[in-house]
Symmetry: C2
Subunit: 522 residues, 2 copies
């Protein structure tokens, strides 16, 4: 008998995308969804369709264009939510509706300001309604780990009676310990024998550092679906990290006896793509995908690894795609070589997009000796960000010195095609150029975060800037890539400004639905 | 009966400091050790004295100047190591020697190229030797979780016979699951009844994302000392994160029944100091100390928190020191106000250091409307980096534009007091200024990493640059703080260059001890 198969349900685009400051557009979400399909996840939770027209469009595009995984849309236990989710996932090969309602008294009383009876009624109606659109219906009793097991079991039984095919038990606030979580699931099995006939799912948050361990405890208690996110992003301290859980099962397969369908060699690239598009860095000591996860610094460890890798390595860096990627282009590489290299990286780039990518590639190749796979990833991901109604940076000049205040001049093209000029004398060159952009565009955007990272090592590395701005109560991020960090910063700023402005416009156009503003996270 | 007290053994300065690219000088280590004492850890593992003269000096300085915690020095199971550690911790109020040797066959055969019999002899001799210097002796069977339990028990029995007072069982390669780890410890208790009379300790690595869960499993199996590091830094994916484990015990105290002596309100500041001095960023979704650990993005969560914080918060941000820190200075604040503010933050700054800090403070206050506690922390930490033999940036001019290549001119003062000039036309302003510094100092330093972060939010935020350089086979990091990121980057570069050069010099002067190059990590 082989290992037990665990379904990987990726919520990077739903719970992950709810992290503060992340604002993926539909193109970016689609690109991540394609990469998740290449990674081999079983289910992609593509978004929360009723939350906004943008969310709806992104889920629908993913449902239509991404093949392989089940495509799920989230819905509170309301008819309108369920209908919107059903419409968004309708064209998927295998659509799923995921509906939820809290079963903890603390949520029922304070959040929902409702009663246990009403919760049961809502759950019954929502699952039944979802079932009228799709066969594959998932139900989550939110905040279950802080809820009464008996009441949660009643609600789960109702969901099963109405035809739910997956029951997900979220540790919404990251409160449980592995033993408690396993006990809670075991108790649910006792109270709801029918649970054995469907898929039990776990969804763990990392507030106390236990998300992966709780997920493992859940699987050992009988769960066969795991909800997780790339790089462990998500509300607050995030969800269980997909890469950590998958590599735990893979590395300890002989002892644990579980397997997933994930192609682990796609892990590193998926992690980089998600980090780049969300603007969320991965810390160097992050397990599996951190820069140092496979580095050995101390003399004893290096000495041991040279003698025999197994002395200090329980995983091989090539199995997660961190090494063995030696694709390199140079300034003499042509359009065809670029297209092949991009295809090898999983990017299908054609027509005008290929022309733009080739132009950017040539600019970079003129400045850098070699253009690596990681440089190409950064460039292509950078290009994905354009194409929407936005500001464009035309040119800039900055004078920087520690002997006089820095002065910046910029020219920006507005969404209407006008070229506007601005200048500013600031505290630093970035401050000066950001304020010059504000002056040119006559926007009072407020800088909330700013970061610059190098894409690759070396003196001629590409710099990647990430900016989070706030404008009229809406916040959004933007990224920019260049060998010049001032240029990268200015690019990131105009993109963040464009994203903010789109959010402000969307918010102004949206009817004031009291429900629609409530984006949830089980 | 109250909760069981768990001893917190902090290894930030030993295992944490072994992370690639971290190179703390003695002043920085001392500052972190003082902060760890304020945080209330029970044991500070201050370093590995035989590894280098710098390590020895740092451990000795901490032993002499830091009061409260036990001060431990690490030693392999060799007489020379034990003697060096004994000398380094001798002046501590409560000194400890921590000695170790591997008990796994994979390490004994491939790493030590030794036999089980020799391992037993070495362990016996090392513990006995350590005991001749100090009462408080800790012994670790390295790679224990991959070792034969019976053989490990024999070695542990030997350590106990020779007087070891703490037995630490490391999961050196981060391989164990919580259940396995608990079973292994339970088996050791069965095989070595005398283990009940000393303190059992756990040391877990996070390679599979299980460090905190394994630590908890260890404590539940009887361990009463926990080895951990601030921000979870350490070899590869790092050690169990101190803040996660401490807050797990605090948040779940009623159910778990364990307590520590940590003042949790010092957690955020300690995390920031360690991140700043090591140059290791904390990812936004890191539990407890990540920027988003207490942020609520989704509408439902925000709505819930406004109605009742307990709906989505299991911890209060003020308990970890993330809020309630509203100390603010302005341009009219005087030297006395600065000194009081610094004292409130735990920094005792006097004489010339206060003059320098005040001068820097005034420069910043001229550019920023308000100077916050976090700005002050960054400034003071920045000042700690000087005072050693080093290069100093005197002035620079950079011309940046996307219409012509950026050009930089710099003046650098050498350690000998000469002012040297350099200039360079580069790919970006940072590239240009870095190469201009190389030209001025005639050094061929290679950039390995570069990062810029904002210290606080807002347009006039301080930028903090971090650079890792490689020079003649040695790598070291440097940080710089300024409202001008080009200046911060240049500062970071000259400091990294100074640190590299000191390492190169130290390496050239050191006698070629075959053992001394092997820095270990249980």
């Amino acid at each position: 008998m082989g290992p037990d198969r665990v379904v990987i349900f990726d919520t990077t685009l739903r719970d992950g995308e709810q992290s503060p400051g992340i604002s993926l557009n539909a193109t970016e979400k689609l690109e991540i969804a394609h990469q998740l399909a290449r990674l081999g996840v079983d289910v992609i939770e593509a978004g929360f369709p009723i939350a906004s027209p943008g969310d709806f469009e992104a889920v629908r595009a993913i449902a239509r264009e991404v093949h392989g995984p089940v495509i799920a849309g989230l819905a509170r236990a309301h008819a309108a939510d369920v209908e919107r989710a059903a419409e968004a996932v309708r064209d998927a090969e295998r659509p799923r509706i995921h509906t939820f309602i809290s079963t903890s008294d603390i949520h029922i009383e304070h959040q929902l300001q409702s009663t246990r009876e009403d919760v049961k009624g809502s759950a019954r109606a929502a699952v039944a309604h979802a079932k009228s659109f799709v066969d594959d219906v998932e139900f989550s009793p939110m905040d279950a780990t802080r809820a009464d097991a008996e009441f949660t079991a009643e609600v789960v039984q109702i969901a099963l009676d109405e035809g739910a095919t997956t029951i997900n038990v979220p540790d919404t606030v990251g409160y449980a310990t592995p033993q408690e979580y396993a006990r809670f699931l075991t108790r649910l099995y006792e109270l709801v024998p029918g649970l054995r006939d469907v898929v039990l799912s776990v969804h763990c948050h990392d507030d106390l550092g236990l998300a992966v361990a709780n997920t493992l405890a859940g699987v050992q208690a009988g769960a066969r679906q795991v909800e997780c996110a790339v790089n462990g992003i998500g509300e607050r301290a995030g969800n269980a990290s997909l890469e950590e859980f998958v590599m735990l099962l893979a590395t300890r397969a002989a002892d644990l006896g579980f397997a997933t369908g994930v192609n682990t060699r796609e892990i590193a690239r998926t992690s980089r793509m998600v980090s780049r598009l969300t603007g969320y860095p991965v810390q160097p000591n992050k397990a599996i995908v951190g820069r140092n996860a496979f580095a050995h610094e101390s003399g004893i460890h290096q000495d041991g690894v040279l003698k025999d890798r197994s002395t200090y390595e329980i995983m091989d860096a090539t199995t997660v795609g961190l090494e063995g990627n030696d694709l390199v282009l140079g300034k003499h590489s042509g359009r065809h070589a670029l297209k092949s290299a991009l295809q090898e990286l999983g990017f299908s780039v054609e027509g005008q997009a290929l022309n733009t990518a080739f132009k950017r590639f040539k600019e970079i190749a003129d400045r850098k000796k070699t253009v690596t796979a990681m440089d190409l990833e950064a460039l292509v991901t950078d290009e994905l960000r354009d194409g929407l109604r936005s500001y464009t940076l035309k040119w800039f000049d900055v004078d920087v010195s520690n002997r006089r205040p820095p002065h910046a001049r910029v020219a920006v093209q507005t969404p209407d095609g006008d070229e506007v000029l601005g200048d500013f004398t600031g505290d630093g060159p970035v401050d000066a150029i950001f304020r010059a952009i504000n002056a040119a565009t006559r926007r009072e955007a407020r800088l909330r975060e700013f970061r610059i990272d190098a894409v690759t090592a070396g003196q001629d590395a590409l710099g990647e800037a990430s900016v989070v701005l706030e404008l009229s109560g809406q916040s959004a991020s933007g990224q920019g890539v260049s060998t010049d960090i001032i240029e990268a910063a200015a690019q990131a700023y105009v993109r963040a400004l464009s994203n903010c402005e789109r959010k402000v416009l969307a918010h102004a156009q949206q009817p004031a639905l009291p429900e629609a503003e409530l984006t949830p996270a089980p």
